[in-house]
Every structure is written in structure tokens, then in C-alpha cells.
């Protein structure tokens, strides 16, 4: 078991290493570089040379990669070009904001998704299922920029209950941020909950049709005991991986929603730094987002492994 965990962690690092090379090479082969972008029309002669020297761009690419990677491991991603400040200072509040948004969506969305999914499965083809399923399919199909815009129109502009877009400094305190995040959270949670509820529904239905559930019924196990003991543990196991991917997707920046609501999270930072050709920040973001995906998937796999007795013995035997 321990061996397996170590192996998976090592594989995770290898993945990150490959991602870092790809982003480094990617930014390298793009025409132009940080200095030409920064200096714009003055990008020639002495000034360009000086800029290269200042940013250390005059050494060969592989040397720059090594020194960048060494620094990055220690959390130092260098300087952002547009803000002229350390990237970690730029990232810090953004990560915090994205975390706030994601965790709010997770804490609201996942329980609702589970409950809706289970209800629709247990009352399959009956009124609760038909009603909820119609709503979830509806919520799934509306693109988030439309639902977000509609939310702004109704809640913020017509009813004037909440602010429509987030106009606060990036490093604002949590309490001040709170009223601002309600609409974005609702917009994200809607689509996420709908997806997950559908997934949970089909998973529960599949288990309900299994021979072991039929056996439990024939054994005389009361309905709700059967649901909690025999159905849910088996039906929700496959949900763990989906939940993990959803969390990673949330943390990785829900770009569209953040842009619509002008929310200062990681997603918007990605868009901003790409349009500003702020390559060091793009590199840092790519690495950070990749690490989020890798580590959350790793956690989910280990969790499934621990909860599923079948996989556990299988792995140990190997």
C-alpha cells in the first residue's frame, strides 16, 4: 500500500515535470518574448540588450529552464511583467479568492447533488424523478455565460438584491467578499450540481438493479437499511472520481464565470496574463493548475482505493 502511494506520488511529479517542459517550450517558441512585449516599439539595440540582461534572457534556454525550475520548486516564480511585482504576490490573493469560490460551490453543490441524485434514483420514473430530472437537464444544457448573465439581470439589476459584478480590490477580506460571491457561486453550482446529480442517479439505479440488492430484498432487509447499507456505499464509490475532477475544475478557475462577474480569481488571471503576454505568469499558472489537478486526482484515487475492499486486496496481492 505504502509502495503504491509512493509510486503514485512519483508519477505525479513526473507529470508536473513534463507539464513544466511543455509550457516552457511553448512560451519559448512563440514569436516575441517578454522584452519585446514590454519595450514595445523601443525593442531594439541597447535597450533590448539591457532588458535581456536584466531578466536573464541572454543565457541559453535550457539554463534558464533549470534556474527557473529550481526557483519554482522553492515557490519563487520570478517577476510578473505587467505588475512588476513578484508572481507569488500576484498569485497569493487570486488563489485565495478561487479557493473561496470553489469551496462555497463545493459545500453547497455536492450535498445537493447527492441528495437529488439519490432521490431521483429511488423514485425512478415517478413524480419526484421526473420533476427533478427535468430541472437538472435544463440546468445542464444552459451555458454558464447565459445563466450567469440572466442571474445578473434578474437578481442584481431588476431586484437589486446583490451586486452584479465584483468591484473590490483583489486582497479584500472574506466578509467583504461574501455578498459578492453569492451570484457566481450560484451560477457555478447550478451546472456542477446538475451534472453530478445525473451521475449519481445513474450510478444508484445501476446498483439498485444489481443481483445483490435483489438478494438483500429477498433476505428481508428493510428498505431504508438496504439503501444505506447495500446500495449507497457501492453506488457512491465511482462518484468520488467525478467529485475530484469537479473540484479540480473549480479550483483551476471557472474562466467564463469569473470573467462575466469580473471575479478576481485564478481563471481571470489566466485570461489577463495571456492577453498581456505576461509569459512568466502564464508559466507559473500552468504549473500551479497542473499541480492542483494531479494532487486532487491522486487523493481521489487513494480514497477510492481505501474505500473499495476489492481494489485494496487486488493491489496488495500484486
Amino acid at each position: 500500500m505504502l509502495f503504491l502511494i509512493i509510486k503514485r506520488i512519483l508519477l505525479g511529479f513526473i507529470t508536473l515535470f513534463i507539464v513544466s517542459i511543455i509550457t516552457f517550450v511553448g512560451t519559448e517558441v512563440l514569436p516575441g518574448d517578454a522584452c519585446t512585449t514590454y519595450l514595445e516599439r523601443q525593442a531594439f539595440g541597447e535597450q533590448l540588450e539591457a532588458c535581456y540582461r536584466r531578466l536573464g534572457l541572454n543565457v541559453p534556454a535550457y539554463e534558464r529552464y533549470v534556474s527557473w525550475a529550481l526557483n519554482a520548486i522553492q515557490g519563487d516564480f520570478g517577476y510578473s511583467l505587467s505588475g512588476e511585482m513578484p508572481i507569488k504576490d500576484v498569485l497569493g490573493p487570486r488563489i485565495k479568492n478561487s479557493l473561496v469560490l470553489a469551496s462555497a460551490a463545493i459545500f453547497i453543490g455536492i450535498p445537493i447533488a447527492l441528495i437529488l441524485g439519490i432521490i431521483t434514483a429511488l423514485w425512478r420514473d415517478k413524480l419526484p424523478d421526473v420533476a427533478i430530472s427535468t430541472v437538472t437537464i435544463f440546468a445542464m444544457t444552459i451555458p454558464e455565460f447565459i445563466s450567469a448573465t440572466l442571474l445578473i439581470l434578474i437578481i442584481a439589476i431588476w431586484l437589486e438584491w446583490l451586486p452584479g459584478i465584483v468591484i473590490v480590490p483583489t486582497d479584500v477580506s472574506f466578509l467583504e467578499l461574501l455578498p459578492n460571491i453569492i451570484l457566481p457561486v450560484v451560477a457555478i453550482a447550478m451546472i456542477m450540481t446538475a451534472h453530478m446529480a445525473r451521475m449519481v442517479r445513474s450510478s444508484v439505479i445501476q446498483v439498485m438493479a444489481s443481483e445483490y440488492v435483489q438478494m438483500a430484498i429477498l433476505k428481508g432487509v428493510p428498505y431504508w437499511k438496504m439503501v444505506f447499507k447495500h446500495v449507497l456505499p457501492n453506488a457512491l464509490l465511482p462518484a468520488i472520481n467525478v467529485v475530484a475532477l469537479t473540484i479540480a475544475w473549480l479550483l483551476g478557475g471557472v474562466v467564463v464565470t469569473e470573467v462575466v462577474f469580473n471575479y478576481p480569481g485564478l481563471g481571470r488571471l489566466v485570461i489577463e496574463s495571456i492577453s498581456n503576454r505576461d509569459l512568466p505568469t502564464v508559466q507559473a499558472l500552468a504549473i500551479i493548475l497542473a499541480s492542483i489537478y494531479v494532487s486532487i486526482n491522486l487523493l481521489a484515487d487513494l480514497l477510492t482505493l481505501m474505500l473499495n475492499p476489492r481494489l485494496k486486496t487486488l493491489q496488495i496481492r500484486k
Binding site: A209, S210, E211, Y212, V213, Q214, M215, A216, I217, L218, K219, G220, V221, P222, Y223, K229, H230, P233, N234, L237, L307, N308, P309, R310, T313, K318
Partner: protein, 674 residues
Amino acid sequence: MTDIIQKVKNLSIGFRSKKGEEILILKNISTNIKKGETVGIVGESGSGKSTLALAMMGYVKHGLYTIEGECQFNSSNLLKMKSKDLEKIRGRKIAMIPQNAGQALTPNLKIGYQIDEALQLHSDLNEKEREKKISELLNKVRLPSPETIALRYPHELSGGQQQRVAVAMALAGTPDLLLLDEPTTGLDVTTQAHVLELLNFIAKDTGTSMVYVSHDLGAIAQVSDRIIVMYSGEIVLEGPSRDILKRPIHPYTHGLLKSIPKLSLAGLPESMPGSQPQPGTIQSGCSFFDRCNFSDENCKNNSPKLEFLKDLNTSVRCFNYEKLVNESQASQTVNKIKNKSQDKEILNLSEVSISYAKQKLLDQIFNRISDDNPTVKDININIKKGETIALVGESGSGKSTILKSIAGLLRTKDGLIRFDENRNLSSDLKERDPNDLRIIQLIFQNPDESLNPNHTVEEIIAQPLKLYFGLKGEELKKNIVDLLQKVRLGEFYTSRYPRQLSGGEKQRVAVARAFAAKPDIILCDEVTSALDVSVQAAVLNLLQQLKEDFGTTYIFVSHDLAVVRAISDRVAVLYQGRLCEVGPSNDVYKFPSHPYTEVLLGAVLEPDPDIKPKLVAEDIVEERPPEKGCSFQGRCSRIVGDICKKEIPPWQLTDSGNAIRCHIPIKELQKEQF
């Protein structure tokens, strides 16, 4: 009468088709189950036998509903009972032993808990007492070391052990009636015989009534006092077990018994034409009319009623049963197969070993396989042109593994596979040229999975014709129709999809696809085990006919020794990937034989209440072959000493040319086996 425990009265269960028609799965079933008796319900898949058994617990599957009738238990109708009340009867008064215990045990719960759950629900024992009871129950179903086994998860047990757990779970509520739905189907022959013996013991020991549902007349014959034969949702024959098996007076049962291959009789059994009609397709007349050899005009237009014959104590649904009353079942006729093998060798396996072990990185890089104790080892067989050689053994004996290697689907570790005396076949599919691929074709066990559901029959058969012979247009069409006719399917099948065919028809399409490549060798992997008995005989006869027409060589893998007996010229018995015995099938089925062959032969269930299985060895499941010595040492009842554990036994030849790999001299072997 008070000794009736369950009374089924005029029961009809069905579903509503998309057009709104009411389609019956069970048609007006009435029968009584008495206290302490074991009733066998036998029928092909789709005959409604499982639906009937489930109805006896008041359970009707999703999509089906009760149209009329009752299932009375203690004079209350289970089918109208509230689920609260049913919970008190299910598991406590009536318990179910499911077909596939592997799927019927909840995967995330330890088996001790699952038995405990039944005890909590249906007994007043406290925790200490329950713990003791669990051990008792596990002991009763003869599971080793009950305390540790209770802590395991279902997937950590073998198939036979899982089935025993299911039995223990059913016994936990000390029920008055046990319903068994194909409880031994899917188990190995030896395990099956052991489980049946256990069930017989439990029936005697506890006096429980049992309803035993199965398609397998062999198993039914071993356990039941009374047999109900179902066909197309109706009871067609009901009576004392012995009479039904010895003198079946319904044409269906008559034909069914004739189509079962017997160990004692070499050759292919007669087959019954056609297959069971789909529910809802019979409008008038007897449902067996199409397949019946005794039918007349009357049968076509009028449906026979179930008639009770007092002097035979039997109920029968047939107008013409009298024609059968005097006919004895002993007159089973078989088509003796002619051994058409030539002296020319077509395939030779020498020193073949195959490993499933996960290879270390270094070995993977150098593309080699290292394993001291491979799954399959030292296989030496030479196969003659035109013969049928069968590989038999329990699951895990390596028989399918060897087939895969011959087909090129699995790399061998060592050894050579030679075709036609001099051509080496690489064990890697990618290194075989198109002709190598063409000469060896496979027919799989389950045609549902081996035929692409999105292709029509025409497209399925066209593929090898296009691939190997480049046929197009009219010529392609003509070839397809020819092949379909060879497997006795008409031209109109070309546009059908696999889901529109019955099991037997699907397997015929698979056979046609294999023959389309004009192969020299066809590998048959359990080709009849997914089919109903009456269809099985027809497919076996077809395979034999095609072989005689084309001179093809068959390598036939099966766990069913009676089927192997019927079709093969030569048999190779395998245990744990090692050969035990090879010889002409007539001799392998005669003693003396390898102790493992003896175990296998002893465990075969014949549809005859007078032939009881002989249980020679324990049904232990071994995880891997032993490192040293004889492969069968772990289960052999005739071990002669340390030599069996240390040395690989030598090949010994019997007078008839049968090779046996055992340390016991042939003469000695013979002594105890008579």
C-alpha cells in the same frame, strides 16, 4: 391439507409490450409445494422458471406485474402483501439461494456481516450468540476456518465458497421453504457436485422444503423428489422425479432428455429442431407444436390442457402423450462420430509455457518473460489433420490460455507452435502474416459478446471474406448465402442484427464467420456452454457435419465432460496448466485413468436418479500451481509419498495408447478404480 407449504393458484405474470399488448411470461400456473419435499423446476432460459420461483417469495421483477392468481403461504397471498409484512417472511420463512453468489453478495460488506444481518432480522439472539451462530452456519456449509472466513469480503472467496456463504445466509433464518435459483450453474463440475451433496444433506438434516430451479436435468435429477417441466411459461409435465426422467411422457421432455450427451454413450445425441418461441408469439395451439415430432392438426389449433393421469401420478399437457407412454427412454440413439483424422500432423505444440506474471521493467525492455512457475508449462501435443481434440479441466486449468496462445492472442514464454510440420507460428499476433491468421479461427463461448451488435449478419460474415479473399459485390453475396445455408440459416437472415436472433442462431452465425475464412483449424472455446440443452445438441451436430464436409481440425475447449465425450476423437486433461492425461477419448473415459480424470468423471451429473456422482477429492481451489512435483498433489487422494511432492511424474502409456502422467504404476492405478 396442512402439509402444503406453498400453494400457487392460477398464476399469470406478464408485461405490457410497447404496443400495449399484454404478454404473458407465466400462463396460469398452479402447483403445490409440500412440507419436506424437494421440487425441481426445469426449463430452458425464457421458460419462466425463475419468475415463478421469485413469485413464490412475493417478488415480481421491475417491469413485470401479476395479471391474476395467487401465491399462498400460510393461506395469505404473498403477491398482495405489504412490503412490511413481506420483510417478516422473506429470509425467515422463505429464503432464496441465488444463481450467482458472486454477484448476489454485496461487495462492500464482509460476509460475516451479511450473515449477521439475516440473524439480526430473523432471530432474537444477542450479539454473542449470533457470533457463535455464524460460526456454526459456516461450519455447516463446510467452509474452512469459519472465524477468519467471516472477516473476508465476498471477492476474496472462490465461486464454490461464495455459493456456500449464500447457503449459510439462507439457513440463518431457519426457513420452512428454500428457493434455489440455478445454485450450481457457473460452478466447476467438482464444486457443483459438492454443493449439491451439501444441499441434499441440508434438506435431510433440517427437513426444509426446497424448490430447485435449473436448466440442468443432471442437477435436478440428483436432488428432487418431484419435477415440474416448464416450457414457454406453462407447466407441460409434472410428476415424481424418477418417472419423469425414466419415462418422460411429454414430447418436449422426451426430446430434451435425448439431446443431453451422456458419459456412458459416445457419439452425438439427437437434436431437437428449432427453439422456444418468444413470449407473446404463440396465438393458438400448443406452444411446442413447431418442434414436436408427435404433433397433428389438433395440436396446431387447440391448446392442450394440463391433464392429471392418476395411474402414473403425473400431469401432462399433451394430446398425444399416449404415444410416448410405452416408449422407453433407454432407446437413446446417437450418431457415432467417425474419426477422420489423417496421419498428417497439422499443429504441434512443443514445450509450450505461458506466463501471466507481471514482468519486471528490465524484462519488459528486453522483451522477455521470466517466471519460474508459469501458469501453463510443458505442453506437448501434436494434432493430426481432421481430428477433434478436446482440452478439458476446471476453471484455472489453463485450457483457454492455451487456445489464446495458439490463436496468437497471448505470447508464449517458451516453446514452439508449429503448423503443418514446418511452419513456425509466432505467438505474437503482429508477427503473423495474413495467411497465418486465416488458417486459425476462433469461435467464442458467448455469441452475445463476440458478434458486433451494430453489424448485420451479412456484414459479420462478409468481413473475413473481404479481408482474406478480397471478395466484392455479387460474389461476396453468393458466398455469404452459401455459408448461411451451410449453418442451416436461410438467406433472409442477412439483414438481421444479432439482437434479433436466438442464442442458437447467433452461435450459428459465429460458426459461419469462422468457416468463412476457410481455416484449417478452428478453436472452439466452450462454444455450447451458453446455449440451452436442446440447442446445444443441434450446434454440436452442425459442427460435426461441417468438419466432415471441410476436413477441418477442431481444438475444443470445454468443462463439460459429457459434451467432450460426444464430439471429440482425442482428449487432453489439464490441471493447473499441466497435462495430466492425453489419449483417444474412448480410453480416457475408461479406467485406469489419472487421479484427476477420475475426480472429474466422478463429478459429472447424469440426468438419471440412479447414477450418483462420486466425490473423490475435496473441492479446494488452488491459487497457483505447486513449485515442484506433480501438479495435482494438493488435491490428490492417492498420493504415494514424498515423490509426488518432489518430482514431476513420468508419462506412462497404457495398452491402448493412452498417456497418463502419474507416479502410480498403471496396474496399481487400475486396481482401485473399478
